[in-house]
């Protein structure tokens, strides 16, 4: 389908454009919305790591040792910690969206509470998970 070149159309007849993202004042809902998309992208990439780990465990003792050593290294632990927080924040974002889909939590106070609540909840769950990791270690 051939589209008309917008620069050929007189300015006052062009379709309106939304302002650039930098124009808007930051709000909690905007921040968690962007974080939801970013964590989604991060988890997408992380799935490759999950598949690689499972394949290493399904392989032999050597491939499992290599995977364990990588995950146990400082960088590996840092990535795992980030993955945990991304997973929890995205899951809390999912709960927030379920609440909104059900038609609740749209007034200014409630939507900011949901935004902050998902961040605090994700942080708390991440800390709890890593406490369990350090106890079992």
């Amino acid at each position: 389908m051939a589209e008309a070149d917008p620069s050929q159309i007189p300015l006052e007849q062009r379709r309106p454009l939304s302002p650039h993202v930098q124009i808007y004042q930051w709000s909690p809902t905007m921040a968690v919305s962007i974080a939801h998309r970013l964590t989604g992208i991060a988890l997408y990439v992380g799935t490759l790591g999950l598949a690689a780990y499972l394949l290493a465990a399904a392989g032999n003792a050597r491939s499992f040792q290599t995977a364990s050593a990588l995950l146990g290294s400082f960088i590996g632990q840092l990535i795992l910690f980030g993955y945990t927080f991304a997973l929890m924040l995205h899951a809390m974002g999912g709960i927030r969206h379920i609440i909104w889909d059900a038609g609740h939590g749209f007034d200014p106070e409630a939507r900011d509470k949901l935004a902050w609540g998902s961040l605090v909840g994700a942080g708390a769950l991440t800390v709890l998970i890593w406490i369990a990791v350090f106890i079992l270690r």
């Binding site: 989604g40 992208i41 997408y44 799935t47 598949a51 465990a57 399904a58 270690r137």
Partner: protein, 129 residues
């Protein structure tokens, strides 16, 4: 762009370019998979945490036993579908060129299937060897 110069009917000009009662299917699938993933995510985290400190044999025994294996396969299946749907939106939002967009959408679909099937294969291999 006057209508008289076109041989196409208005219907033909827009055919397959928009919603024909399937407009909410993507959104519905996104929510269906997210609903499934909520409990599965916590099961997945519990399995990962209980892997801490295990050697090769006991890690294999855990990952290959029926309950963790089934939960992992469900998590991977719902997760791969969910991430394909999510990345599709990201691509549609940010990649402007038609050819680049189509290529990215194809890559996304194929990558999601491939990574999901590879992970499921690993779990099945752990279960049956």
């Amino acid at each position: 762009m006057s209508q008289q110069t076109k041989l196409q009917t208005p219907r033909a000009a827009v055919n397959r370019l928009g919603s024909a009662r399937s407009g909410t299917l993507h959104a519905w699938r996104q929510r269906l998979t997210s609903f499934a993933l909520l409990p599965l995510t916590f099961a997945f985290v519990a399995i990962l945490v209980s892997l801490v400190g295990r050697d090769f044999e006991s890690a294999r025994a855990l990952l290959g036993s029926p309950c963790p294996a089934i939960l992992l396969i469900l998590f991977i299946g719902a997760g791969a579908w969910h991430m394909a749907l999510g990345m599709q939106m990201v691509i549609e939002d940010y990649i402007p060129g038609e050819h680049a967009k189509t290529l990215a959408l194809m890559t996304n679909a194929l990558f999601s299937v491939a990574v999901g099937l590879a992970a499921v294969y690993a779990v099945l291999r752990l279960s049956f060897t």
